[in-house]
Symmetry: C2
Subunit: 232 residues, 2 copies
């Protein structure tokens, strides 16, 4: 079972993944402000949180990893590329995480940041990609901070995420336009950034975005480098 949760302040989607047979669960991209909600929901559904995971060091909200580890005893995993040593362990490309009878695969997808991961879950005939800020619905994450690279993002999109079957459900870390999910098919054919097939043209497009600096980056990044432990 997958339960999507929404943080209205940062437009962040958090995902609760549940093995229905064992009651083991994982949270992807939990937000510190919403820990009370997560803990209550875990209790109500009688779940044991085994993992709290971040797709990357976020710049727009503070992660709940550290608080969840203290509250539930779960393992926390963050990108091993992010040189962060506050978590239980580091994600590596193709690492397989066991949540009861579910297997969650970590996929290193740098570009938005140099520590970005996506996750893939297969449940019966259905495949789900949790794409973080690498692939958004009809968009992508930006590449102009935290060692972002439009060249890496192009490779992560075309050589990794878009190689999954067309009917794979896409669950991003954010949406700003009222979408909650998509599919690889839709993003392959209707995502304006994905449709830029020439790598040079994509790099130029990303370089010319000229986006304003994220509001909370100066607070969020140092806090998240400590798994949200830092009081702010």
């Amino acid at each position: 079972m997958i339960r999507q949760l929404y943080d209205r302040d940062s437009y962040t989607y958090t995902y609760l993944l549940v093995c229905d047979k064992t009651g083991q669960a994982a949270l992807i991209d939990p937000v510190k402000d919403n820990v009370t909600q997560y803990v209550q929901l875990l209790k109500e559904l009688n779940l044991k949180l085994v993992y709290a995971l971040d797709t990357h060091i976020h710049a727009d909200h503070i992660t709940a990893l550290s608080v969840l580890r203290k509250a539930t005893g779960c393992s926390t995993l963050v990108s091993s590329q992010g040189k962060v040593n506050c978590a239980s362990g580091g994600l590596t490309n193709n690492a397989c995480l066991t949540i009861g009878l579910l297997s969650l695969r970590a996929i290193y997808t740098p570009g938005h940041t140099d520590d970005s991961y996506s996750f893939y879950l297969q449940e019966g005939a259905n495949g789900y990609l949790f794409t973080g800020d690498t692939l958004l619905i009809r968009g992508t994450g930006r590449t102009d901070f935290q060692n972002g690279s439009a060249s890496d993002l192009y490779e992560s999109l075309h050589n990794k995420l878009l190689q999954y079957p067309d009917n794979t459900i896409v669950y991003p870390a954010h949406d700003y336009n009222g979408f909650t999910q998509s599919t690889i098919f839709e993003e392959k054919y209707f995502n304006p950034r994905v449709k830029i097939k020439d790598k040079g043209a994509f790099i130029q497009f990303m370089a010319e975005l000229n986006l304003p600096k994220p509001k909370h980056i100066e607070i969020a990044v140092p806090a998240n480098q400590q798994c949200g432990e830092l009081d702010v």
Copy 2:
């Protein structure tokens, strides 16, 4: 396939229901401001919209029913109890709507308003209840306007919606706390209003809420009584 869409201004969830085999589709509680998004998504997914439905005359946003009927030729259905004559037809209790090979059942669930409906969809082993404002996640709609009735709401909840199997997915018309879906099990045991088992106590609880008037009610209700046709 069910696709949840979100209107950030009014915290409204709109649902796109798709028969994957035929490409026929329905929209529940579409928002007028988002028509361009709906029409583009229908086109991208190569869907034929056969129905646009409202769970009730909304007080917080303007319905897209009339615009969608003009743009797509779909049928529009609203509660027959609402005495609204702008739609293609009126919903009646237990009416069965055909969307390709899917059957959507209309359930008259008055209480939030006297014209409130819910919808039930069975897809294989999975059941889905689209509960409008009758049953919200860990809450309910209010009952203090549009001929609302706490007594009727109590009956709609306990004698209709909560009679569905525990594993039925609950998809409400709104959420204000970051939830996107629930189950009948969760609402039966963890919804504070549902847990008030005594009908008199429930009526008293609802009477004492003293909520502020919805911001857009004076614009939205008359517009929605014309299926969103009225220019505002």
